[in-house]
Protein backbone atom coordinates (compact mmCIF):
# COMPACT_ATOMS: atom_id res chain seq x y z
CA UNK A 1 0.00 0.00 0.00
CA UNK A 2 2.82 2.35 1.03
CA UNK A 3 4.64 1.54 -2.19
CA UNK A 4 1.56 2.50 -4.23
CA UNK A 5 1.26 5.80 -2.35
CA UNK A 6 4.93 6.51 -3.02
CA UNK A 7 4.44 5.75 -6.69
CA UNK A 8 1.42 8.06 -6.84
CA UNK A 9 3.38 10.84 -5.13
CA UNK A 10 6.23 10.36 -7.58
CA UNK A 11 3.88 10.56 -10.57
CA UNK A 12 2.32 13.72 -9.12
CA UNK A 13 5.79 15.19 -8.83
CA UNK A 14 6.59 14.24 -12.42
CA UNK A 15 3.42 15.59 -14.00
CA UNK A 16 1.67 18.06 -11.73
CA UNK A 17 4.70 20.16 -10.74
CA UNK A 18 5.82 20.90 -14.31
CA UNK A 19 2.21 21.59 -15.36
CA UNK A 20 1.63 24.10 -12.63
CA UNK A 21 4.73 25.96 -13.71
CA UNK A 22 3.71 26.15 -17.36
CA UNK A 23 3.41 29.33 -19.35
CA UNK A 24 1.33 29.61 -22.48
CA UNK A 25 3.32 28.39 -25.45
CA UNK A 26 2.47 28.59 -29.11
CA UNK A 27 2.76 25.42 -31.13
CA UNK A 28 1.97 27.06 -34.48
CA UNK A 29 4.64 26.37 -37.14
CA UNK A 30 6.47 23.84 -34.97
CA UNK A 31 8.15 20.92 -36.75
CA UNK A 32 8.38 17.85 -34.54
CA UNK A 33 10.07 14.49 -34.94
CA UNK A 34 10.89 11.37 -33.01
CA UNK A 35 12.47 7.96 -33.39
CA UNK A 36 11.68 5.20 -30.91
CA UNK A 37 11.31 1.48 -30.30
CA UNK A 38 7.61 0.67 -30.13
CA UNK A 39 5.62 -2.49 -29.34
CA UNK A 40 2.66 -3.78 -31.32
CA UNK A 41 -0.04 -6.28 -30.39
CA UNK A 42 -1.54 -8.08 -33.38
CA UNK A 43 -4.96 -9.62 -33.25
CA UNK A 44 -3.72 -12.81 -34.92
CA UNK A 45 -0.49 -13.32 -32.97
CA UNK A 46 0.14 -14.04 -29.31
CA UNK A 47 3.62 -12.59 -28.98
CA UNK A 48 4.09 -8.81 -29.28
CA UNK A 49 5.89 -7.27 -32.23
CA UNK A 50 8.79 -4.83 -31.93
CA UNK A 51 9.06 -1.86 -34.27
CA UNK A 52 11.51 0.90 -34.96
CA UNK A 53 9.14 3.83 -35.35
CA UNK A 54 9.79 7.35 -36.58
CA UNK A 55 7.56 10.33 -37.29
CA UNK A 56 7.87 13.82 -38.69
CA UNK A 57 5.10 16.38 -38.33
CA UNK A 58 4.18 20.03 -38.61
CA UNK A 59 1.74 22.14 -36.60
CA UNK A 60 -0.18 24.32 -39.05
CA UNK A 61 -1.98 25.99 -36.19
CA UNK A 62 -2.57 25.55 -32.50
CA UNK A 63 -5.08 22.79 -33.09
CA UNK A 64 -4.14 21.01 -36.26
CA UNK A 65 -1.02 19.18 -37.38
CA UNK A 66 -0.04 16.96 -40.28
CA UNK A 67 2.29 14.03 -39.86
CA UNK A 68 4.02 11.19 -41.65
CA UNK A 69 5.27 8.13 -39.84
CA UNK A 70 7.09 4.90 -40.59
CA UNK A 71 7.06 1.56 -38.76
CA UNK A 72 9.80 -0.97 -39.38
CA UNK A 73 9.42 -4.38 -37.75
CA UNK A 74 12.85 -5.21 -36.35
CA UNK A 75 12.24 -8.81 -35.20
CA UNK A 76 10.80 -11.25 -37.74
CA UNK A 77 7.71 -13.11 -36.55
CA UNK A 78 7.79 -16.91 -36.52
CA UNK A 79 4.31 -17.84 -35.32
CA UNK A 80 2.42 -20.17 -37.62
CA UNK A 81 -0.37 -18.51 -39.62
CA UNK A 82 0.93 -15.11 -38.60
CA UNK A 83 2.95 -12.41 -40.30
CA UNK A 84 6.70 -12.67 -40.74
CA UNK A 85 6.81 -8.90 -40.92
CA UNK A 86 4.64 -5.90 -41.60
CA UNK A 87 6.36 -2.58 -42.14
CA UNK A 88 4.22 0.46 -42.85
CA UNK A 89 4.27 4.05 -44.05
CA UNK A 90 1.46 6.38 -43.00
CA UNK A 91 0.39 9.99 -43.39
CA UNK A 92 -2.46 11.93 -41.83
CA UNK A 93 -3.50 14.60 -39.38
CA UNK A 94 -4.23 15.21 -35.72
CA UNK A 95 -6.62 17.48 -33.88
CA UNK A 96 -5.16 19.04 -30.73
CA UNK A 97 -7.58 19.84 -27.93
CA UNK A 98 -5.75 22.44 -25.86
CA UNK A 99 -4.30 25.40 -27.77
CA UNK A 100 -1.21 27.11 -26.35
CA UNK A 101 -0.74 24.61 -23.58
CA UNK A 102 2.38 22.65 -22.69
CA UNK A 103 0.31 19.48 -22.42
CA UNK A 104 -1.00 18.57 -25.82
CA UNK A 105 -3.60 15.77 -25.99
CA UNK A 106 -4.70 14.90 -29.51
CA UNK A 107 -6.63 12.48 -31.68
CA UNK A 108 -6.23 11.82 -35.35
CA UNK A 109 -6.22 9.42 -38.21
CA UNK A 110 -3.63 8.29 -40.73
CA UNK A 111 -3.78 6.26 -43.88
CA UNK A 112 -0.99 4.42 -45.62
CA UNK A 113 0.45 1.20 -46.91
CA UNK A 114 1.63 -1.94 -45.13
CA UNK A 115 4.44 -4.00 -46.64
CA UNK A 116 3.87 -7.48 -45.23
CA UNK A 117 4.75 -11.13 -45.67
CA UNK A 118 3.01 -14.07 -44.10
CA UNK A 119 4.68 -16.94 -42.25
CA UNK A 120 3.35 -19.94 -44.11
CA UNK A 121 4.86 -23.22 -42.89
CA UNK A 122 5.52 -25.64 -45.69
CA UNK A 123 5.27 -23.08 -48.47
CA UNK A 124 8.33 -21.71 -50.16
CA UNK A 125 8.79 -17.94 -49.71
CA UNK A 126 9.26 -17.63 -53.46
CA UNK A 127 5.49 -18.05 -53.84
CA UNK A 128 4.75 -16.21 -50.61
CA UNK A 129 6.12 -12.79 -51.44
CA UNK A 130 5.85 -9.44 -49.76
CA UNK A 131 2.53 -7.74 -50.52
CA UNK A 132 1.46 -4.11 -50.24
CA UNK A 133 -1.96 -3.43 -48.69
CA UNK A 134 -3.76 -0.22 -47.71
CA UNK A 135 -4.27 0.43 -44.01
CA UNK A 136 -6.12 2.97 -41.89
CA UNK A 137 -4.90 3.92 -38.42
CA UNK A 138 -6.75 6.20 -35.98
CA UNK A 139 -4.65 7.34 -33.02
CA UNK A 140 -4.83 9.07 -29.67
CA UNK A 141 -1.88 10.57 -27.84
CA UNK A 142 -0.38 13.28 -25.71
CA UNK A 143 2.77 15.41 -25.92
CA UNK A 144 4.36 17.37 -23.15
CA UNK A 145 6.32 20.40 -24.33
CA UNK A 146 8.44 20.98 -21.26
CA UNK A 147 11.69 22.03 -22.88
CA UNK A 148 12.70 24.44 -25.61
CA UNK A 149 13.43 21.73 -28.18
CA UNK A 150 12.51 18.44 -26.50
CA UNK A 151 9.13 16.99 -25.67
CA UNK A 152 7.77 13.77 -24.21
CA UNK A 153 5.11 11.85 -26.09
CA UNK A 154 2.93 8.79 -25.67
CA UNK A 155 0.57 7.48 -28.32
CA UNK A 156 -1.71 4.53 -29.04
CA UNK A 157 -2.69 3.64 -32.59
CA UNK A 158 -5.07 1.00 -33.93
CA UNK A 159 -4.45 -0.36 -37.41
CA UNK A 160 -7.21 -1.63 -39.69
CA UNK A 161 -6.35 -3.60 -42.80
CA UNK A 162 -5.93 -7.00 -44.36
CA UNK A 163 -3.04 -8.80 -45.97
CA UNK A 164 -4.53 -9.94 -49.29
CA UNK A 165 -1.84 -11.50 -51.47
CA UNK A 166 -2.74 -13.90 -54.29
CA UNK A 167 -2.60 -17.60 -53.39
CA UNK A 168 -2.01 -16.87 -49.72
CA UNK A 169 -4.71 -17.09 -47.08
CA UNK A 170 -6.01 -13.61 -46.11
CA UNK A 171 -4.58 -12.37 -42.83
CA UNK A 172 -5.78 -9.58 -40.62
CA UNK A 173 -3.42 -6.65 -40.10
CA UNK A 174 -5.43 -5.39 -37.12
CA UNK A 175 -3.10 -4.31 -34.41
CA UNK A 176 -2.65 -2.03 -31.41
CA UNK A 177 0.59 -0.07 -31.52
CA UNK A 178 2.04 1.91 -28.67
CA UNK A 179 4.85 4.43 -28.89
CA UNK A 180 6.35 6.69 -26.27
CA UNK A 181 9.61 8.48 -25.64
CA UNK A 182 11.48 11.69 -26.25
CA UNK A 183 10.93 13.76 -29.37
CA UNK A 184 12.37 17.03 -30.53
CA UNK A 185 10.75 20.06 -32.08
CA UNK A 186 11.85 23.24 -33.82
CA UNK A 187 9.93 26.44 -34.35
CA UNK A 188 10.17 27.43 -38.00
CA UNK A 189 8.76 30.98 -37.66
CA UNK A 190 9.57 32.86 -34.49
CA UNK A 191 6.52 34.75 -33.29
CA UNK A 192 5.93 36.50 -30.01
CA UNK A 193 3.35 34.85 -27.78
CA UNK A 194 1.92 36.79 -24.92
CA UNK A 195 2.42 34.47 -21.93
CA UNK A 196 -0.54 36.00 -20.10
CA UNK A 197 -2.94 34.92 -22.84
CA UNK A 198 -4.04 31.35 -23.26
Amino acid sequence: MKRRTDLFAFLCFLFVVPVSAQEAISRTTIVHAHLTIAPGLRSIQKSPVVYLQGALGYYFGEQFSLRGSGWYQVVTGKEANGLAYSHSLLAGGSWHFWPKHAIDPYVGCMTGLAFSRRTEPGINYSINPMHVDPILAPHVGVRFFGEEIFHLFAEAEYVFGQFLAPSVAPTSLREWRFSFGLGFHLRTHFTYVDPTKK
Binding site: F64, L66, A91, G92, I123, D133, P134, L164, P166, V168
Partner: protein
Protein backbone atom coordinates in the same frame (compact mmCIF):
# COMPACT_ATOMS: atom_id res chain seq x y z
CA UNK B 1 35.66 16.58 -65.81
CA UNK B 2 39.03 17.14 -64.17
CA UNK B 3 38.38 20.87 -64.33
CA UNK B 4 35.18 20.45 -62.32
CA UNK B 5 36.94 18.40 -59.64
CA UNK B 6 39.69 21.00 -59.41
CA UNK B 7 37.15 23.80 -59.15
CA UNK B 8 35.18 21.98 -56.42
CA UNK B 9 38.25 21.19 -54.32
CA UNK B 10 39.53 24.76 -54.65
CA UNK B 11 36.14 26.14 -53.67
CA UNK B 12 36.01 24.06 -50.50
CA UNK B 13 39.65 24.43 -49.48
CA UNK B 14 39.67 28.21 -50.01
CA UNK B 15 36.45 28.81 -48.03
CA UNK B 16 37.10 30.29 -44.63
CA UNK B 17 35.07 29.09 -41.61
CA UNK B 18 33.22 32.42 -41.61
CA UNK B 19 32.41 32.01 -45.28
CA UNK B 20 31.23 28.41 -44.66
CA UNK B 21 28.93 29.65 -41.92
CA UNK B 22 27.64 32.36 -44.25
CA UNK B 23 26.95 29.76 -46.97
CA UNK B 24 25.25 27.47 -44.43
CA UNK B 25 22.88 30.20 -43.23
CA UNK B 26 22.16 31.21 -46.83
CA UNK B 27 21.24 27.61 -47.57
CA UNK B 28 18.91 27.66 -44.55
CA UNK B 29 17.28 30.87 -45.80
CA UNK B 30 16.79 29.38 -49.26
CA UNK B 31 15.26 26.26 -47.68
CA UNK B 32 12.92 28.42 -45.61
CA UNK B 33 11.80 30.26 -48.77
CA UNK B 34 11.23 26.94 -50.47
CA UNK B 35 8.95 25.83 -47.62
CA UNK B 36 7.22 29.19 -47.25
CA UNK B 37 3.66 28.79 -48.45
CA UNK B 38 1.61 31.34 -50.35
CA UNK B 39 -0.79 33.39 -48.22
CA UNK B 40 -4.41 32.30 -48.49
CA UNK B 41 -6.27 34.41 -51.03
CA UNK B 42 -9.87 35.45 -50.34
CA UNK B 43 -10.80 34.40 -53.89
CA UNK B 44 -10.34 30.65 -54.06
CA UNK B 45 -9.96 30.27 -57.85
CA UNK B 46 -6.52 29.10 -58.87
CA UNK B 47 -5.91 27.20 -55.65
CA UNK B 48 -3.78 24.11 -55.89
CA UNK B 49 -4.41 21.66 -53.06
CA UNK B 50 -2.53 18.44 -52.43
CA UNK B 51 -4.07 15.66 -50.38
CA UNK B 52 -4.07 12.13 -49.12
CA UNK B 53 -7.20 9.99 -49.11
CA UNK B 54 -8.64 6.79 -47.75
CA UNK B 55 -11.41 5.14 -49.74
CA UNK B 56 -13.84 2.51 -48.56
CA UNK B 57 -15.65 0.49 -51.19
CA UNK B 58 -19.15 -0.46 -50.07
CA UNK B 59 -21.86 -2.62 -51.55
CA UNK B 60 -19.64 -3.99 -54.27
CA UNK B 61 -19.64 -7.63 -55.22
CA UNK B 62 -21.77 -9.56 -52.70
CA UNK B 63 -21.89 -6.48 -50.48
CA UNK B 64 -18.32 -6.92 -49.27
CA UNK B 65 -16.40 -3.89 -47.98
CA UNK B 66 -12.93 -3.00 -49.26
CA UNK B 67 -10.33 -0.59 -47.94
CA UNK B 68 -8.09 1.66 -49.98
CA UNK B 69 -5.68 4.54 -49.89
CA UNK B 70 -4.50 7.07 -52.41
CA UNK B 71 -3.59 10.62 -53.23
CA UNK B 72 -5.15 13.55 -55.01
CA UNK B 73 -4.68 17.13 -56.03
CA UNK B 74 -7.22 19.83 -56.74
CA UNK B 75 -7.13 22.79 -59.10
CA UNK B 76 -9.92 25.24 -58.45
CA UNK B 77 -11.19 26.85 -61.65
CA UNK B 78 -13.61 29.37 -60.14
CA UNK B 79 -15.50 30.20 -56.98
CA UNK B 80 -18.02 27.47 -57.69
CA UNK B 81 -16.06 24.93 -59.76
CA UNK B 82 -13.18 22.78 -58.59
CA UNK B 83 -11.42 19.81 -60.18
CA UNK B 84 -9.99 16.81 -58.37
CA UNK B 85 -7.37 14.45 -59.82
CA UNK B 86 -6.90 11.22 -57.93
CA UNK B 87 -5.32 7.77 -57.75
CA UNK B 88 -6.59 4.98 -55.47
CA UNK B 89 -5.57 1.47 -54.56
CA UNK B 90 -8.38 -0.59 -53.01
CA UNK B 91 -8.28 -4.19 -51.83
CA UNK B 92 -11.24 -6.41 -50.93
CA UNK B 93 -11.36 -9.79 -49.28
CA UNK B 94 -13.93 -11.98 -51.09
CA UNK B 95 -15.06 -14.41 -48.40
CA UNK B 96 -11.46 -15.47 -47.55
CA UNK B 97 -11.32 -17.34 -50.88
CA UNK B 98 -10.30 -14.60 -53.30
CA UNK B 99 -8.92 -11.07 -53.22
CA UNK B 100 -9.91 -8.19 -55.42
CA UNK B 101 -7.53 -5.29 -56.12
CA UNK B 102 -8.80 -2.11 -57.79
CA UNK B 103 -6.48 0.57 -59.13
CA UNK B 104 -8.27 3.82 -60.05
CA UNK B 105 -6.83 6.88 -61.69
CA UNK B 106 -9.18 9.66 -62.70
CA UNK B 107 -10.67 13.07 -62.25
CA UNK B 108 -13.81 14.68 -60.91
CA UNK B 109 -15.50 18.05 -61.13
CA UNK B 110 -16.80 19.57 -57.92
CA UNK B 111 -19.65 22.06 -58.01
CA UNK B 112 -20.37 24.24 -54.98
CA UNK B 113 -24.05 25.25 -54.76
CA UNK B 114 -23.24 27.79 -52.03
CA UNK B 115 -20.98 30.63 -52.99
CA UNK B 116 -18.32 31.00 -50.35
CA UNK B 117 -14.61 31.39 -49.78
CA UNK B 118 -12.32 29.24 -47.70
CA UNK B 119 -11.91 32.13 -45.28
CA UNK B 120 -15.53 31.73 -44.21
CA UNK B 121 -14.33 28.65 -42.37
CA UNK B 122 -17.65 26.86 -42.68
CA UNK B 123 -18.52 23.43 -44.04
CA UNK B 124 -18.80 23.64 -47.81
CA UNK B 125 -21.07 21.05 -49.49
CA UNK B 126 -20.54 20.05 -53.10
CA UNK B 127 -21.79 17.89 -55.92
CA UNK B 128 -19.13 15.70 -57.50
CA UNK B 129 -18.96 13.78 -60.76
CA UNK B 130 -16.23 12.45 -62.99
CA UNK B 131 -14.52 9.69 -64.84
CA UNK B 132 -11.72 7.25 -64.16
CA UNK B 133 -9.66 4.49 -65.69
CA UNK B 134 -9.25 1.37 -63.66
CA UNK B 135 -7.55 -1.98 -63.46
CA UNK B 136 -9.27 -4.73 -61.51
CA UNK B 137 -7.59 -7.99 -60.58
CA UNK B 138 -9.28 -10.86 -58.79
CA UNK B 139 -6.99 -13.63 -57.53
CA UNK B 140 -7.57 -16.83 -55.66
CA UNK B 141 -6.51 -16.78 -52.01
CA UNK B 142 -6.46 -20.55 -51.82
CA UNK B 143 -2.79 -21.64 -51.65
CA UNK B 144 -3.19 -24.73 -53.85
CA UNK B 145 -5.14 -22.89 -56.54
CA UNK B 146 -3.24 -20.40 -58.68
CA UNK B 147 -5.81 -18.32 -60.55
CA UNK B 148 -5.95 -14.66 -61.38
CA UNK B 149 -8.17 -12.68 -63.75
CA UNK B 150 -7.72 -9.00 -64.55
CA UNK B 151 -9.31 -6.43 -66.80
CA UNK B 152 -8.92 -2.78 -67.71
CA UNK B 153 -11.98 -0.61 -67.95
CA UNK B 154 -13.19 2.90 -67.45
CA UNK B 155 -15.83 4.11 -65.06
CA UNK B 156 -18.00 7.09 -64.26
CA UNK B 157 -18.74 8.27 -60.76
CA UNK B 158 -20.94 10.83 -59.09
CA UNK B 159 -22.18 11.82 -55.67
CA UNK B 160 -22.16 14.34 -52.85
CA UNK B 161 -19.51 15.62 -50.48
CA UNK B 162 -18.52 18.27 -48.01
CA UNK B 163 -15.30 20.13 -47.19
CA UNK B 164 -14.78 20.66 -43.47
CA UNK B 165 -12.08 23.31 -42.95
CA UNK B 166 -9.81 22.51 -40.03
CA UNK B 167 -7.34 25.31 -40.70
CA UNK B 168 -7.30 28.24 -43.12
CA UNK B 169 -5.22 26.19 -45.55
CA UNK B 170 -6.33 22.63 -44.73
CA UNK B 171 -9.64 20.89 -45.22
CA UNK B 172 -10.93 17.48 -44.29
CA UNK B 173 -13.33 16.27 -46.97
CA UNK B 174 -15.84 13.45 -47.06
CA UNK B 175 -17.69 12.33 -50.14
CA UNK B 176 -19.87 9.43 -51.21
CA UNK B 177 -19.89 8.49 -54.87
CA UNK B 178 -21.40 5.69 -56.86
CA UNK B 179 -18.90 4.36 -59.38
CA UNK B 180 -20.16 2.45 -62.38
CA UNK B 181 -17.65 0.44 -64.42
CA UNK B 182 -18.11 0.45 -68.18
CA UNK B 183 -16.45 -2.73 -69.28
CA UNK B 184 -16.22 -6.45 -68.79
CA UNK B 185 -17.24 -7.76 -65.40
CA UNK B 186 -15.21 -10.17 -63.28
CA UNK B 187 -17.59 -12.47 -61.51
CA UNK B 188 -16.53 -14.65 -58.62
CA UNK B 189 -18.60 -17.55 -57.44
CA UNK B 190 -17.70 -20.51 -55.33
CA UNK B 191 -17.61 -24.25 -55.67
CA UNK B 192 -16.48 -27.27 -53.64
CA UNK B 193 -13.76 -29.68 -54.65
CA UNK B 194 -13.64 -33.48 -54.20
CA UNK B 195 -12.57 -33.01 -50.56
CA UNK B 196 -15.52 -30.65 -49.94
CA UNK B 197 -13.19 -27.68 -49.64
CA UNK B 198 -14.55 -24.37 -50.96
CA UNK B 199 -12.69 -22.72 -53.81
CA UNK B 200 -13.33 -19.65 -55.98
CA UNK B 201 -14.35 -19.73 -59.61
CA UNK B 202 -13.25 -16.46 -61.20
CA UNK B 203 -14.66 -15.63 -64.61
CA UNK B 204 -14.43 -12.72 -66.98
CA UNK B 205 -17.94 -12.01 -68.23
CA UNK B 206 -19.25 -9.81 -71.01
CA UNK B 207 -19.74 -6.10 -70.62
CA UNK B 208 -22.05 -5.29 -67.75
CA UNK B 209 -22.89 -2.33 -65.58
CA UNK B 210 -21.05 -3.22 -62.42
CA UNK B 211 -20.88 -0.65 -59.66
CA UNK B 212 -19.95 0.10 -56.09
CA UNK B 213 -20.33 2.90 -53.59
CA UNK B 214 -17.12 4.69 -52.67
CA UNK B 215 -16.83 6.58 -49.41
CA UNK B 216 -13.74 8.79 -49.46
CA UNK B 217 -12.11 10.70 -46.60
CA UNK B 218 -9.35 13.09 -47.57
CA UNK B 219 -7.07 15.65 -46.02
CA UNK B 220 -6.00 18.47 -48.35
CA UNK B 221 -3.42 21.19 -47.97
CA UNK B 222 -3.46 24.43 -49.97
CA UNK B 223 -0.03 24.64 -51.58
CA UNK B 224 -0.02 27.49 -54.09
CA UNK B 225 -2.24 29.95 -55.95
CA UNK B 226 -1.63 29.04 -59.59
CA UNK B 227 -2.89 32.26 -61.13
CA UNK B 228 -1.91 34.63 -58.40
CA UNK B 229 -0.14 36.94 -60.87
CA UNK B 230 -3.24 37.30 -63.07
CA UNK B 231 -5.36 38.44 -60.14
CA UNK B 232 -3.29 41.56 -59.88
Amino acid sequence: MSGNVFYRSRLLSNTTPLMKRFLFFNALLIAQHAFALDPVEPTPSGRFDLGIRSTTSLFGEAGITGLGMGGQFRIRLSDRINTEWFADYITTNLNDLATRSDYHIGWSVLFYPLKTTRQNFRPLPYLIGGHCFDLTRVSSSVPYLLQSVSRYSSAIQGGLGVHLPVHERIDFSVNAQYMMHLGKHIHTHYGRDAYDRPYPIIELEDAALEGHLLLTFSLNVFIIDLWKGKKG
